[in-house]
């Protein structure tokens, strides 16, 4: 009891950066979390990695992407001369003969860009791959951080253009889904397991696309007065409700698009015959 009443003097204390900066509480551990904080980023990284591996293989394979009436979503629309002919299908020879590699590359840029700049995926890979941060209140390993303030990450701001493009791509995939109601001889009135896979996929693609933050902004978020725009207000609320599940939709649609492609692969490579419902 009764120690000196004047506060002690302060001396600088050697230390590092971040949570070890000089003035902060002296705690050696970079974080004190006791839960399994690494599980979520690890699972995210694993999931994304698996998709990248799978899609790279399929995109460069340039084979087994069409089994009438199904066209793999990785190859639709197909825009080079080396595309397989799909009767009334989503091919148009815009690029001509000089395009020698897989035509999937031309079109995959758009959904890839859309997902790469998506606000959810950004969180997922910044955390999962970049460890920036690995988890909340867990120190990140980088010395310097400028976020999305400069090139290249400032380009994340183009998300909106990819959204516009994603709408077009989703439109083509919708068309493909409609075409999947034909049989392999292009006669209408067919439905196979593939059709169902396509239906589920396109539903997820659309809900993921529509639930995008840019979309939410464009349909109504940019307004200052909802009261003057009742229709856009309702649209904004609808998109907002979907947007709350953006993460879930991002994963589901990622899985479904891979699954749809894989289904086409199985049928096209003859592993499997498309079971018909009618």
């Amino acid at each position: 009891m009764a120690t000196g009443t004047e506060p002690p003097g302060t001396q600088p204390r050697p230390s590092g950066g971040g949570v070890h900066s000089p003035a902060r509480a002296a705690i050696a551990a970079p974080h004190l979390r006791t839960d399994r904080w690494w599980l979520a980023p690890a699972a995210t990284a694993a999931g994304l990695f698996a998709f990248v591996v799978y899609s790279t293989w399929r995109a460069f394979a340039n084979a087994d992407y069409y089994a009438a009436p199904y066209v793999s979503p990785f190859y639709s629309p197909c825009l080079a001369q080396n595309c397989r002919t799909m009767h009334a299908g989503p091919n148009a020879d815009l690029f001509g003969s000089w395009w020698a590699i897989s035509p999937a590359i031309i079109i995959l840029i758009f959904p890839l860009g859309f997902r790469l700049t998506c606000y959810y995926y950004r969180k997922a890979y910044y955390r999962g791959f970049w460890a920036s941060p690995p988890a909340c209140a867990v120190a990140e390993p980088h010395k310097k951080y400028t976020g999305e303030t400069r090139f290249p990450l400032i380009l994340q701001n183009v998300h909106r253009y990819f959204f516009y493009a994603a709408i077009l791509v989703a439109g083509v995939l919708t068309y493909d889904t409609v075409l999947s109601f034909r049989d392999q001889h292009y006669r209408w009135g067919h439905m196979g397991l593939g059709t169902l896979v396509f239906l589920v996929n396109i539903a997820l693609i659309w809900t993921y696309t529509i639930s995008c933050h840019s979309c939410r902004h464009i349909v109504g978020g940019q307004l200052k007065h909802f009261s003057k725009h009742p229709v856009r207000y309702r649209a904004w609320r609808f998109v907002g409700r979907l947007n709350a599940h953006h993460m879930l939709l991002a994963w589901l649609s990622l899985a479904s698009v891979a699954l749809a492609d894989f289904y086409v692969y199985l049928v096209a490579s003859g592993v499997f015959d498309d079971p018909r419902f009618f």
Partner: protein, 256 residues
């Protein structure tokens, strides 16, 4: 369950240094971490420094890190821990420590001052304001903020990079910019202030990489990232990166 003896580690020290001190302390049914800290003060460490006020999750004073996670001590029930678990309590690790669990949160007050205030609309006197619930819903969500600064604490932009404190306002104050930009009667634009562009130019919106820790720790459940930061980024895109919108705003009278 009635009462048991818990193991606590509480950081004690000041700017010169310090460390985790072990305590054994009684815990009763229904208590929260702040109760235990108070018991330590009353029985074992009378000079243990801690900030608190309302003890009901309304004032945002008792922010700390409990088992490494930023939380309000008054809203962390002891029942979430197993009786044999050691509970570690440290001060916020993003701000300079003053003593024990108390940190210097001055950073936040400096940033608060840098956000230009509400600009009242010209020609409307007190009592003449008319606003509609659907228009005030959005900014009202942000005004639930109790300024506990947990989001500021957890945000890795400043937590892990001291130098960024200069350029970056942090989630709380970017949200404040969003709140004002969404205020139905804010007349900043008429006065020549573009809050959307200034969020990026003056308050460091670009530093945010939307990793959502602010939303995760918010004790008020405000969806900071989805409802404030991302919409603000989109608004900045309107101003700076979207030629269509830019063109539209030049040609038409797109008064929204």
């Amino acid at each position: 369950m009635s009462s048991y003896e818990a193991r606590f580690k509480v950081w004690r020290g000041d700017a010169d240094g310090g460390g985790l001190k072990d305590f054994r302390v009684e815990v009763n049914d229904g208590e929260v971490v702040l109760d235990i800290i108070h018991r330590l003060q009353a029985t074992q460490a009378p000079d243990l420094a801690v900030r608190w006020n309302c003890k009901a999750g309304k004032c945002g004073s008792c922010s700390a890190e409990i088992n490494g996670r930023p939380r309000l001590m008054c809203m962390t029930r002891m029942s979430v821990f197993a009786p044999e678990e050691t509970v570690t309590v440290t001060p916020l690790r993003t701000f300079p420590v003053i003593r024990d669990l108390v940190t210097d949160v001055g950073f936040n007050y400096v940033k608060a001052r840098e956000v230009p205030s509400f600009v009242p609309p010209a020609g409307l006197g007190p009592g003449e304001y008319r606003m509609f619930q659907e228009d005030v819903d959005r900014p009202q969500e942000f005004r639930k903020c109790i300024e506990c600064f947990l989001c500021q604490d957890v945000c890795h932009v400043v937590r892990d990079h001291e130098d960024n404190k200069r350029a970056y306002a942090g989630p709380r104050f970017l949200m404040r910019v969003a709140e004002l930009d969404m205020h139905p009667l804010d007349a900043a634009e008429e006065s020549g202030l573009d809050r959307k562009a200034s969020a990026q130019d003056d308050h460091g919106l670009g530093y945010c990489n939307i990793t959502k820790c602010c939303t995760e720790v918010c004790p008020e459940g405000i969806r900071i990232t989805d409802n404030a930061l991302i919409p603000l980024k989109e608004r900045a895109v309107d101003r700076k990166y979207d030629p269509l919108v830019w063109l539209g705003s030049k040609i038409g009278r797109r008064r929204t």
